[in-house]
Amino acid sequence: MPTVVVMDVSLSMTRPVSVEGSEEYQRKHLAIHGLTMLFEHMATNYKLEFTALVVFSSLWELMVPFTRDYNTLQEALSNMDDYDKTCLEAALLGVCNIVQQEWGAAIPCQVVLVTDGCLGIGRGSLRHSLATHNQRSENNRFPLPFPFPSKLYVMCMANLEELQSSDSLDCLERLIDLNNGEGQIFTIDGPLCLKNVQSMFGKLIDLAYTPFHAVLKCGHLTSDVQVFPRPEPFIIDEEIDPTPKAINTDLEIVGFIDIADISSPPVLSRHLVLPIALNKEGDELGPGITDDTEDENSANQIAGKIPNFCVLLHGSLKVEGMVAIVQLGPEWYGMLYSQADSKKKSNLMMSLFEPGPEPLPWLGKMAQLGPISDAKENPYGEDDNKSPFPLQPKNKRSYAQNVTVWIKPSGLQTDVQKILRNARKLPEKTQTFYKELNRLRKAALAFGFLDLLKGVADMLERECTLLPDTAHPDAAFQLTHAAQQLKVASTGTSEYTAYDHNITPLQTDFSGSSAERM
């Protein structure tokens, strides 16, 4: 989930903070202090996150485009100038554009808005934006809700009392509501000071930027891993089951499937599975932090030399062209596979299927998948030349079962032509002729289209009269028989209109000998 930090650089952010007995701080400094802490945390624990920095007043500017280089972001914080008034709507619109240009509309983003709760005055102020919210056309719609899945975190450089004294808090709450409730407002607890700002940003980090640690298991083979980005809780059905489901921290492999069988399944999200080395205190050694870089390097080197199940699994998945099916929770599954970023680099990746007992119709119910050793004979064949997948659905779809649709005249004409073509090749095409004839008969009966039966009967009778002299005598018999059978069906009398009844070829006695005479 990429992050956009949206920093208020209006004049009100330069308001001094009265801290007794220390040098003078502005709210801006508090904000920078908090963001520094956030960036430091990300640089060590959440390195793969892309973050962009936007500053805004009445205008907005993309200071740092999406990057994983936290030094650049850090530097930018110290290069911010002060500008005029707050104009939030324009900035949010800017965020929309930046995110969509970079990531499209499908990737969830976190927007961290840092402001002092002074929401501007006059046109462009949040108050004005909200007041005119209902009078907007499609062309200048309010940027919230964001067109991409999002969380909007508002970090206020003000405490609750201050915000409540004006209507700022209400306005900010409206903002979250407009984003479909996706987001949260953070305020400073107690007096404005560095310590309290830290604790506020600490809360944000706990909520949104703690790495997700899990244990990947395959029987007794295990590995501690970090899953990045964090898998977010998922709501299966708003109406019946409105509680969000989170994935287990035990990721249990239940078996393996060939890539061709799993066949590019739809997934909710993709995550890197990075092996980590945990020491006893639970701190990580792998892609994590140690105070001393030298220590880190040597620790990494040791960790690199200890065999890790993830690496083994990744290697074999890659070589065999398979995926591992992993259980994420009750009735929730995903798959592990090797994903190549370039020719050299590849990684263990996990994709999450939609929760539910049967996320992929072509695999059937997940709980019904069992080990091949339980099957009477190996479903993959002794030479590994077949597969039990995909599962065939009970009923065929219309395009796979030759349905009859006569809505367009061409559909009807094609079907009649087919009968006619076969009629002219009787008796060789007797079987196809009757097959097509019966198909037409069934459809005409179902649609109550008896006139058609009569019409086709007439046509077959005419064909009979047009038969060339060289025609096989059987042709005339079959045509007459078929025409007569259609005619009785077209009367609508129930004994002839049974849907399941089939017109069968007339039993004639033109044995091989007569054919030879021809």
Binding site: W103, A105, M349, L369, I372, Y499
Partner: protein, 702 residues
Amino acid sequence: MKIFAESHKTVFVVDHCPYMAESCRQHVEFDMLVKNRTQGIIPLAPISKSLWTCSVESSMEYCRIMYDIFPFKKLVNFIVSDSGAHVLNSWTQEDQNLQELMAALAAVGPPNPHADPECCSILHGLVTAVEALCKITEYQHEARTMLMENAERVGNRGRIICITNAKSDSHVRMLEECVQETIHEHNKLAANSDHLMQIQKCELVLIHTYPVGEDSLVSDRPKKELSSVLTSEVHSVRAGRHLATKLNVLVQQHFDLASTTITNIPMKEEQHANTSANYDVELLHHKEAHVDFIKSGDNHIGGNSREGTFKETVTLKWCTPRTNSVELHYCTGAYRISPVDVNSRPSSCLTNFLLNGRSVLLEQPRKSGSKVISHMLSSHGGEIFLHVLSSSRSILEDPPSISEGCGGRVTDYRITDFGEFMRENRLTPFLEPRGSLEIPLERAKDQLEKHTRYWPMIISQTTIFNMQAVVPLASVIVKEALTDEDILNCQKTIYNLVDMERKNDPLPISTVGTRGKGPKRDEQYRIMWNELETLVRAHINNSDKHQRVLECLLACRSKPPEEEERKKRGRKREEKEDKSEKSGKDYEPDKPWQESERLKGVLDREKEELAEAEIIKDSPDSPEPPNKKPLVTMDEMPPVEKAKGPMSLLSLWSNRINTANSRKHQEFIGRLNSVNNKAELYQHLKEDNGMETTENGKGSRQ
């Protein structure tokens, strides 16, 4: 879409009254003269469909598209109405297919134009439709049972699509009122019933259809709320293809469908097989498949499709198939499709191509000329899906390579062996409930547990898995149950190993990290036997037969010298016991000799360990030979723990200290022979009673 939204239950009520037998007055030429046919034949007169035929085939088309795209959980109940209501199917999933409906319609047949119009009414059907909506579907039942006390969360909404020929606007109003009243009454009934559900929302879609060329007596009316439960809309539509178009539009609205036109499909010409022309095929699917276009506002929506009054379609270009089945695309959604014109030649060519197992990538036509592949058509088991492929920048780009992380520097992973392991642990669907009640997936987990009890990850950690000779045993010992043949194979394997040892065949012991030649041959065999024993021991609780394999192994494996001695002694004692049974106690005098022999054995071993320590002294990286583990831990550690791979620094260190210490003193005999660090006193008393104490001694060495 919620599961139990209006679209969960659709009731079709089609008028079967005498006037529906009237012609729609739209002619269909069915006798098309083929070229080169005899001149002078007058084609047969065109025929026309009745209002009934038009209504039925349009509603069947609605159902066809719905069943194609939502084969489950979207249900249709079909009712025809004349002098009474005829319900053609039920809500059950088995009844939900075109064949069933077609057969039922054929049984009803066309309306009888000579029936008494006074007895016939669409009202019978509408009343029955409301009744049907109160009936619980199997999905609703399942959800209610699952939620128990929260059963009221399960919604009951539905839609009635009524195709009739109304007389006037007031006639329409009368029908609406009737539906509203019936809902009111039936909701009262349902409130007191366990089998019925109250209708929370009902959408009434009244379609007035009339012959082409006549004036409509009923006016269109958009959706209007008649009560908190009922909304109603009126469509006045000419029969024939107009009615079909209307229902096609409705099915898209009702099920949130969208249209995609695949363009530039190369297809062989019927007449000229060597040329190909490009065709377009229009498909319907859930509109989520267009989510990227809708949200980004990047609607490069093509011109309205030919029939279209309402329809918009997104055009995607066919890419010559360059994808293969072993490529795993990042796909964010897959949606079933239904061709708009299912029987046309381009449609059936496309669907047959896909049903044969090929996939097609689809490309967004962009003005800039850059190529963006956004979708893929692919079939899975006879169903065609439109896959949405992610075309935006990945947030996971440039990740650290797996070789840079933990375990990334290790180069001798048993990749091939694990590949084999994965293939053995592939999954397969079990359709019919199996004899045992166990869930297949739990069986799969169980098997993985068994197969990984002893599974060294790297080549230098194992000897037995590098030996072809062990394969017959290793492959069957992990099984839940062994056949007699399996046991035989295991025994053969063990005998074979004994044979190898006798012949002094070399073993593939890893010498990585060790200097010199590595352990001596007999030491190699000891490592191998220990490892094999660990493997077999991990499975002895599976069955008695596994136990028998272990017994065979223990009986055959070569023992360190002192154990050889003990074995000899054991044999002697056996003989002696035989004797003693006959001739009483002439056993005692042997004891001092035995003891001295044992002491000698101990000393021998010390020497051996000294030699070992010498070899590995300078290379702490070398794999720890299994027999180097401290005596006590050897016994206490469950085999599973051993499988856990590398030793901790602590155990390396304490090993070394123990070895060093052991060199400084002679170990107490009692401790040497102890089990779990407990020595049994007065063993001979038991021996006198015929107990096997030597087993204790052996135990401590394992």
